[in-house]
Each structure stands twice: as C-alpha cells, then as structure tokens.
C-alpha cells in the first residue's frame, strides 16, 4: 500500500508491503514501532536510530510531537486520495486570505479599516490574552476586507477577524 503524508506543505511518499517492509521516497527504511503507553507515547527505531514520539489522532492524520516540536501530519492512502481528488472542488482564488484569531482573547484595538492597503507585518489587531497584549500582524501585503471584530469583543481561538484581499491590479 502507498501512503501520502503531508507535513508543513511538504509531501512524503511511503510504501508499506503487507509484511511491513517500508520504502520512503524510494529509500528502504528499517523501522520498528511500538506504542509504549495508552497516552500515545511511541518508540520508533529507524535503522537503529531511536526516537520517542507522542501521537494524537486528528480528523485526518496525526499530530506528532518529537523533541519539543509538534507536527500536524495529513496522511492518506492512495485509494483514499484518488477518491477525494475526483470530487474535489475548485479551490478558492488564492488572492483572498482570511485572518483568524490565533488565540482566544479580548480585542483591545483594531488598527486597520476596510479598504486599507497594508504591507507585510503591519499590525492589524491587538488581542489581550494572559494579561499581555499580542499584536496580530499582516502575514503578507493586501487590502483589508470584511472586518468582523470590534474593540471590546471577546473572540474564540481561530475565529475569523477579517480578510486580506489581493492588492489592486494596476491594469
């Protein structure tokens, strides 16, 4: 069976035979995997290199914690992917970028208005959480649209706050 795993936008191809023999991106891998406790702690030996990982299940795939870093892995087998791609929607235009609240918090200040053009790293909103003010900055340039938060409002983590549209084309 062939599996496709995506982490941080990078795609890996892993093939596993019914006997458990593994090939990763064309290279054979000698791996021994063991779940240590019911909490998701795993021990993995790859070509005798020892790794300890914590694995949590997610909607599709796993959240893997390894040495202080956490990775969200989207994994599926080939058949699954084929079925999904056949009914995939046309993806939204890549010009619109929704800005979500990265944490729950209190909106202390909204620093932009609709229609305003912002540059990379311009401050958009100040969210107060854990008694500290956190500046939410623009992840790229764009035009502010659909501001859906206002000062004094509490927002949940991941709540949409506004949309960054594409810069006006000069044509």
């Amino acid at each position: 069976m062939k599996y496709i795993a995506q982490v941080d936008g990078i795609t890996y191809e892993i093939e596993i035979t019914p006997e458990g023999v593994i090939t990763m991106d064309g290279e054979p891998v000698e791996a021994d995997l063991l779940q240590v406790d019911p909490l998701g702690l795993h021990s993995l030996l790859i070509n005798h290199q020892s790794y300890e990982l914590v694995v949590e299940e997610q909607q599709r795939g796993y959240r893997v914690t390894l040495g202080g870093n956490a990775f969200s892995v989207d994994v599926a087998d080939e058949r699954q992917l084929r079925m999904e791609s056949s009914r995939a929607d046309v993806s939204a235009g890549d010009g619109d970028l929704p800005i979500h609240a990265p944490i729950p918090g209190l909106v202390v200040k909204v620093m932009v208005t609709e229609g305003q053009t912002v540059a990379l790293n311009d401050p958009l909103v100040i969210l107060e959480a854990m008694k500290m003010e956190n500046e939410i900055r623009a992840p790229r340039e764009g035009v502010v649209r659909n501001i859906s938060v206002q000062v004094g409002q509490s927002v949940e983590g991941n709540a949409p706050m506004m949309v960054l549209g594409p810069l006006e084309q000069e044509d």
């Binding site: 599996y3 795993a5 995506q6 990078i10 890996y12 892993i14 596993i16 019914p18 006997e19 458990g20 023999v21 593994i22 990763m24 054979p28 891998v29 000698e30 791996a31 021994d32 995997l33 063991l34 779940q35 019911p38 909490l39 998701g40 702690l41 795993h42 993995l44 030996l45 790859i46 790794y51 990982l53 914590v54 694995v55 949590e56 795939g61 796993y62 959240r63 893997v64 914690t65 390894l66 040495g67 202080g68 870093n69 956490a70 990775f71 892995v73 994994v75 599926a76 087998d77 944490i103 729950p104 918090g105 202390v108 959480a129 854990m130 008694k131 500290m132 003010e133 956190n134 983590g157």
Partner: protein
C-alpha cells in the same frame, strides 16, 4: 512553629511552598478556583478549599475569601507566593488585622517599595545608586521634553508597575507619544493607575539582582546575585547564579547596597533588589521585589539555603540561622522557564490539554512544575507552567545539563518554550556569557537544525500508524500485534536486513 499554613497561590509555586511546609512538618491548606480543582498542588496539599470561579479577580485575588478560609481551616499563616496578592499591602494588612501571619514583609515595606517613585527616593537616601530619569505624574508633553534631556533611548515605565507590564522602550521622539498611550493603557488595566515615568536606557546593561534575607530582629544578609538578562518583552526567560560579570568584589559591593536598601524600609522576609549593571561594572537600582521570586531556585542550588523554609522561620519570629560569612556560593545553576507559548509564532500563548508528559530527571536537574497529564492549560493565568533548573560544577556543566534535560522533556498537547531554550543553549554568545537585556531583540536563537529530519519521521510514523490501523483485523492490541515478543515492524526490519545481506 506554625501547625498549618494556607498557600494563597496556584501552580508550581503553590507546590513549592507545600513542599517546604511538609519538610517542616507543617500541614498545608490549598485554595483553588474552578479551573484548578484537579491541579497538582490541590492534590498534594493536606486540605483544599474552593474559593471561586476561574478569573483571578474572583478567586486568587479575593483576599477576603482567602482569609476566611484560613480562619475556617485553622491556618495560622498565609504564604502568598509570587504574583496575585504577594505584593498587595492591603492584603498583608488585612492578614495582620485578622490575626493571621502574612509570610512576607510588612504592609509598610510593601507599600514603600511598591510605588516605584517612593521606592527610588527611599533607597537613594540610603546611598543606593539610581538610573537618571523623571519623576512620575508628568504630562505627555512634559515627558517629551524630559526625554530630549535624558537622551534616547528612554524607557517608559508604569509607576505602579512590575513584571514588564506597562513598560516600553522608545528609540526616537516620534515613537514616544504612541508608546506612552500604550503603556498608560496597559498600566491602567493591570494596576488601575496610568501614571508613568521615564528612565534612561542603560545600554549594554545586564539585569542582575541580589537576593536578601532579613529577620524581624534586624539581621539582614544577602545570598549573592542572579543574572536575568535573557528577557523577551521584559519577561525573564532564563536566570542563572552566579553571573559571569560579577566577581567577588562586585558581589560584595552590590550585596552591601542591597542590604542597605532592605534596611531602609525595615525589610523582613525574603526579597530581591534588582539592578542594571553596565559594561563598566556600574550598577543602578531598578526596583525591589518584596516577595519570593520565580527564579529563587538558582540561588538555593548555589548557596544550599532553602529560601522558602527560611521565609517560614522568619515569619515565625526566628532569628536568621546564618551570618553573611556562612554564605558561600558553590557551582552554577541555570533556570529555564517552561511556558505554554509558541516560540515559532511570536510566543503566542498556546492552550490545550496536556496529553503526555515526562519531565527530565537525573544528576543536577531540579524541576518545579505544575503540569500533569489531563491538565487544561487555559488563558486565565500566567503561561509559565514549569521551571527546569540545571546545576553543575561550573557554568559549562550547568548549560550541558540544561541542554540534556531539555532534550529529555516530553510534553504534548500545548506548544512550549522548550524549542526556544534548545536554540538558546546552542547560541555561542549565550554559551560565552556575552549578552545584555536586549540580547533577544538582536539575536534570534537558532531553530532546531534537524527540523527536516523530524518532519520526515513524523510523516513516516503517521503512515505506519495508518497502515497498522488498516491491518487491525490481523494485528490487534496497542502493542502493534506483538504476540510473540516481535512486532510486525521488527519482523519486517529483520527481513529487510536479510535482503540487504543477499
């Protein structure tokens, strides 16, 4: 000695105080909000009382409720830890009025040191050197003028401040107005008082503080210095003792000044006098923290003095067991604050449920932790969830042990500052001790360089787990179908090995 002490705090520091009490045979009373019913300190205390909903203002800041619980439980004394009510003079006074011993300084000393302006005037009179700056209470325009005189960069500070709240560094005149506004807004929210003042920025300055211990009989000693220059937005991230820039002569001079500052307010209990030390070894008074400090363990490790137990003895009216000559520093200790923040995303607070945990142990490692499996890390309280302290023969060994312990830390469910600390200990300038309080503004510690390899492993294990799930009809059980002591994976690995031999 007290028979029972109430701990008016939560998290790791509540547990720290419980341990000190247990080691003195004193019973402990914990108080908890709705968010902390299952907390470690509640489970480790002898008794526990619910005091209100999660917001601190309705629970841990409710001095009246806490004193009432002390009465009900028969606790003779209250230890406030740090934060919350620790530097609240009114609470200390209310304890006194209620006939409960407040384990800390007098309300008068807290009040004198609590207002930064009064504090500076008081210690200056005792001969303590100050940083040039303005008085408090000036208008924005007056402050603009004063800043020109002091010279940029200047620091905007809240008069009632502490912990970096309401503090801003300003480099150019045109930034000052907006920084004043932000600082006043934060100060008003945090302390109910938007008074600010300006201070000259001591360039290349290192944050070095002196731990003092004072009893009620007029004896005051110091326990040497701690260096806390590794800060982000005025929040300390790493502390150590001793400091690479403090030699025995400077230590004795700073210690003498710190003792003088404590004497100036008739200080009793443990306290910390904070200084900035410039590159020429001049030092300036910053403020005095009239409480137990987060970073007290590094001092405990190098001096062998248990500061929390001494605070209890002092509150009980005992004389200090040490004179200054009894205090000797041996070895080196470094503390890394483990916070629920995402260092890869601008230290945004990270929330969630702790799903797995294994804390480092072994030689030279001390953990002060409030973390446990099942814990909900929320946004109600400080993001610091644990402290990792490494002790070694010298600074190099302490750093190597810290590094080793950081790689051993297993915590899943929230992002933490561990990757930041791992990057920091691999930074040559940190290793060489070459840094000041602005170090992190100019030096971004390297991120883990093997992130690509880790990503690959995360992808691999995910595919293996998905495969395993598909095979579940054949290989049941959480050990991956290990029935004869050999998993399907190891069998495959052996097979693989054989193939290669062919």
């Amino acid at each position: 000695m007290f028979q029972k002490i109430l701990i008016a705090n939560r998290g790791e520091i509540a547990l720290r105080i419980i341990r000190a009490c247990q080691e003195r045979g004193i019973k402990t009373v914990a108080v908890y909000s709705d968010a902390d019913r299952s907390a470690l300190y509640v489970r480790y205390a002898d008794e526990a009382y619910h005091i209100g909903p999660a917001p601190a203002s309705e629970s841990y800041l409710r001095g009246d409720k806490i004193i009432e619980v002390a009465r009900q439980a028969g606790a003779e004394a209250i230890h406030p830890g740090y934060g919350f009510l620790a530097e609240n003079a009114d609470f200390a006074a209310a304890c006194r009025d209620a006939g409960v011993v407040f384990i800390g300084p007098t309300p008068e000393a807290i009040r004198l040191m609590g207002d930064k302006v009064t504090a500076r005037a008081t210690v200056a009179a005792a001969g303590v050197p100050l940083i040039p700056g303005t008085p408090a209470g000036l208008s924005d325009d007056e402050l603009l003028a004063a800043a020109e005189e002091i010279g940029y960069p200047v620091l905007v500070k809240a008069s009632a401040g502490g912990g970096g709240k309401g503090m801003r560094m300003v480099f150019q005149p045109e930034e000052l107005k907006s920084s004043l506004a932000a600082a006043r807004r934060e100060a008003l929210k945090a302390f109910g008082d938007d008074t600010v003042y300006l201070e000259k920025v001591v360039e290349g300055a290192r944050h070095i503080e002196i731990q003092v211990l004072a009893d009620a009989h007029g004896n005051v000693i110091h326990l040497g210095e701690r260096e806390c220059s590794i800060q982000r937005r005025h929040q300390k991230l790493v502390e150590e003792s001793p400091s690479v820039v403090v030699d025995e002569d400077l230590r004795q001079r700073m210690g003498a000044v710190a003792v003088a500052a404590a004497r100036a307010v008739n200080y009793v209990s443990a306290g910390t006098v904070e200084f900035l030390v410039d590159k020429d070894g001049n030092f300036y008074f910053l403020e005095m923290n009239t409480r137990l400090q987060v970073e007290h363990p590094v001092t405990e490790l190098v001096t062998g003095v248990d500061i929390v137990k001494e605070m209890i003895s002092i509150a009980d009216g005992r004389k200090l067991r040490f004179t200054q000559d009894d205090i000797h520093m041996k070895g080196w200790a470094i503390e890394a604050r483990i916070t629920a923040e995402d260092p890869d995303n601008n230290f945004m607070p990270s929330t969630g449920k702790i799903v797995a945990l294994r804390e480092p142990t072994g030689p030279g490692i001390r953990i002060e932790s409030g973390v446990y499996v099942g814990m909900e890390v929320g946004l109600y309280y400080d993001p610091m969830i644990a402290k990792l302290i490494a002790y070694g023969e010298n600074r190099a060994e302490a750093i190597l042990r810290l590094r080793r312990a950081l790689t051993e830390y297993r915590i899943a469910g929230v992002k933490t500052s561990i990757p930041f600390h791992l990057g920091l200990v691999d930074t040559p300038r940190f290793q060489w001790g070459q840094f000041d309080t602005r170090f992190l503004e100019t030096h971004t510690p390297p991120v883990t360089d093997d992130i690509g390899e880790k990503r690959r492993i995360a992808a691999l294990i995910s595919a293996m787990l998905l495969h395993q799930r598909g095979q579940q009809a054949v290989t049941l059980g959480h050990d991956g179908g290990r029935k004869d002591g050999v998993s399907v994976w190891r069998k495959a690995a052996l097979l693989n090995g054989l193939r290669r031999l062919v």
